[in-house]
């Protein structure tokens, strides 16, 4: 009886996945009765609300790619430098002090970052730098906050990967006369590369799925551009916009929510699975 109810608990997680897939794909299939595959996957204009309507998802995918690109440009060097410092330079005490502070960044609700993006980053930081022509809603402000949000993901997982590199490799480097930086950069980082790549994939999955920051700060104008200084709309931004509008069931607008959702689900799933495979690989290598 007890084991039976415990098994039932475990079954709930399987049921959740089944329901997610069922809900996404059943509504998506109705969506594709009204909109052709060709229009959705090859069109470059996303205009679901105004005549003539057009459902070319690339404009939303480009918006997501835009914030992924710019948040990574900022978070990757800083995250990697942090991981190298914590793993190769910092004393145990410094590490014990800095890791929790860094992880606090991951605990901040994203709606708070969203508020900062428009009220502080755009107004106090970006406008003075890029001039008053910068739109209030721009991809760069959102990317800055996304970069802060994923910094702990990159730093923490990369640091774990570097810490699991055997000491022998470092000793061999020092034995050949390499300096600490050379050992860190040319021995430890390459040896931990699969873990570092995994951290980046997980970070990308989080950026792709993040909603509040992009919905508030990046704008709501689908825009086929990778420029950080323009107003854009991401897949999640569009989904939230529909969610706010209380779209009636059986309208194309409501179904488009699930079509974009299915696309989002597949993309994050691919990045997450990639990360898990890589993590499994670096665990095997050194354990």
């Amino acid at each position: 009886m007890i084991v039976g109810s415990l098994t039932l608990c475990a079954a709930i997680s399987l049921l959740t996945t089944t329901l997610i897939i069922y809900v996404l794909f059943s509504e998506t299939s109705t969506f594709f009765r009204d909109v052709s595959f060709q229009e959705f996957f090859t069109g470059t204009t996303w205009r679901p609300l105004f005549e003539p309507v057009s459902f070319g998802v690339w404009e939303l995918v480009a918006g997501t790619a835009n914030v992924v690109l710019w948040s990574m440009v900022m978070a990757l060097p800083v995250g990697l430098a942090t991981a190298v410092y914590l793993s190769e330079y910092a004393s145990g005490r410094t590490r014990g002090l800095m890791k929790p502070m860094l992880e606090a960044l991951a605990g901040v609700p994203t709606v708070v970052y969203a508020y900062f993006a428009i009220n502080v980053i755009t107004l106090d930081v970006l406008r003075p730098v890029f001039g008053p022509d910068l739109p209030v809603f721009n991809s760069l402000a959102a990317s800055v906050m996304l970069a802060v949000m994923i910094l702990p993901t990159i730093a923490s997982i990369s640091e774990d990967a570097m810490a699991s590199v055997p000491r022998d490799l470092r000793e061999a480097g020092y034995g050949l006369g390499a300096t600490r930086l050379e050992v860190a950069w040319r021995v430890v980082v390459p040896a931990a590369l699969s873990g570092i790549v995994a951290s980046v994939l997980l970070a990308i999955a989080r950026v792709v799925g993040e909603t509040m920051i992009v919905a508030v700060a990046a704008g709501s104008t689908p825009n086929l551009t990778l420029s950080p200084l323009e107003s854009i709309q991401t897949m999640t931004g569009y989904m939230l916009q529909v969610g706010l509008g209380d779209a009636a069931r059986n309208t194309v607008e409501y179904q488009s929510l699930f079509a974009v959702g299915a696309m989002l689900f597949m993309i994050t799933l691919a990045f997450n699975i990639g990360a898990h495979l890589l993590v499994a690989r670096f665990r095997e290598e050194y354990e």
Partner: protein
């Protein structure tokens, strides 16, 4: 006995040329890397300072006990705080038993076979599903199909599904760390498998499990997108009395004030609400950290 000649006594080997340059770069790198690793924390401190500047004066008793209003000075968090409290309570009650049950089954009872690996893989993937996807799941299943409307119950069920995977993973880690000797001792004196788990493994794992649960709750407490998707973005001017009421929460209120036109003065309310939300989230994280530290020493 040979004596070291005086002119050789204080020789230090000093690198020159290329080697000196490499050593210099390596010495400098420590400070460059340290500076880089402080950027994130520095930004956080700067933002916290800006928020306190903008909103601290608005955090008053009236702000906490007033309903939302068209006028920024009169608007308050009352319905949001009450809504958050209801939603969080139901989320914990729904998620806690399922998450622990799943973790206990996986660690103690499940046959070690392909089914278990599949359940594990599935949980890891669910933990990575974006919250807005849980939101549209809640919208389709709880709000529309089960006809609960945009109610507290629909919100709590949605958030419960969202936090179950991360809670299971934390609980699993905690159960794994209970030494095998404790199970052996209990089984040796004749306890059943379930008695061993219930009276020995779970109490030992409880601090770790609680830490995981608290962190999951703090994530749910700050969740906005999933709840907006189920339709919880509405003006609530009454106190919730039933789990089937419409509701709003503190993060939703922050969002609603943030997106108002800047000249109406609601940004001050947003920063005041952020102070309230962050105080709650940081308190939860602190409690989790204290529990973890206290039981690590024992």
């Amino acid at each position: 006995m040979s004596v070291v000649p005086a002119h050789l006594e204080e020789v230090t080997l000093r690198a020159t040329g290329a080697v000196a340059r490499r050593q210099f770069i390596s010495r400098i790198s420590r400070y460059v890397l340290l500076a880089a690793s402080l950027i994130g924390v520095a930004i956080l401190i700067y933002l916290a300072y800006e928020t306190l500047q903008a909103g601290a004066s608005r955090v008053t008793w009236h702000f906490l006990t007033n309903y939302p209003s068209r006028f920024a000075e009169r608007a308050g968090l009352r319905s949001a705080i009450i809504g958050s409290a209801w939603t969080m309570s139901f989320t914990v009650v729904l998620a806690f038993p399922v998450a622990i049950g799943t973790a206990v089954w996986m660690e103690e009872f499940a046959p070690k076979n392909a089914v278990l690996s599949f359940v594990k893989l599935n949980l890891a993937n669910l933990a990575g599903v974006p919250s807005i996807i849980y939101g549209i799941l809640g919208l389709a299943i709880f709000v529309r199909f089960a006809d609960m409307g945009p109610s507290i119950m629909a919100g709590a069920l949605t958030l419960a599904l969202m936090i179950i995977p991360m809670t299971v993973i934390a609980a699993q880690e905690a159960i794994k760390q209970v030494p095998q000797s404790i199970r052996d001792a209990s089984l040796a004196v004749g306890a059943t498998h379930w008695q061993t788990v219930w009276s020995h493994v779970l109490p030992q794992a409880l601090p770790g499990i609680m830490t995981g649960v608290i962190l999951a709750v703090s994530r749910a407490a700050g969740e906005t997108a999933a709840l907006i998707m189920i339709g919880a973005f509405s003006l609530i001017l009454y106190d919730n009395t039933s789990p089937f009421d419409s509701f709003t929460t503190v993060p939703i209120q922050i969002y609603s004030w943030t997106v108002r036109p800047a000249n109406l003065g609601f940004q001050v309310n947003a920063s005041a609400a952020i102070i309230v939300l962050m105080a709650a989230v940081l308190t939860l994280n602190l409690i989790a950290a204290i529990i973890r530290e206290r039981f690590r020493r024992e």
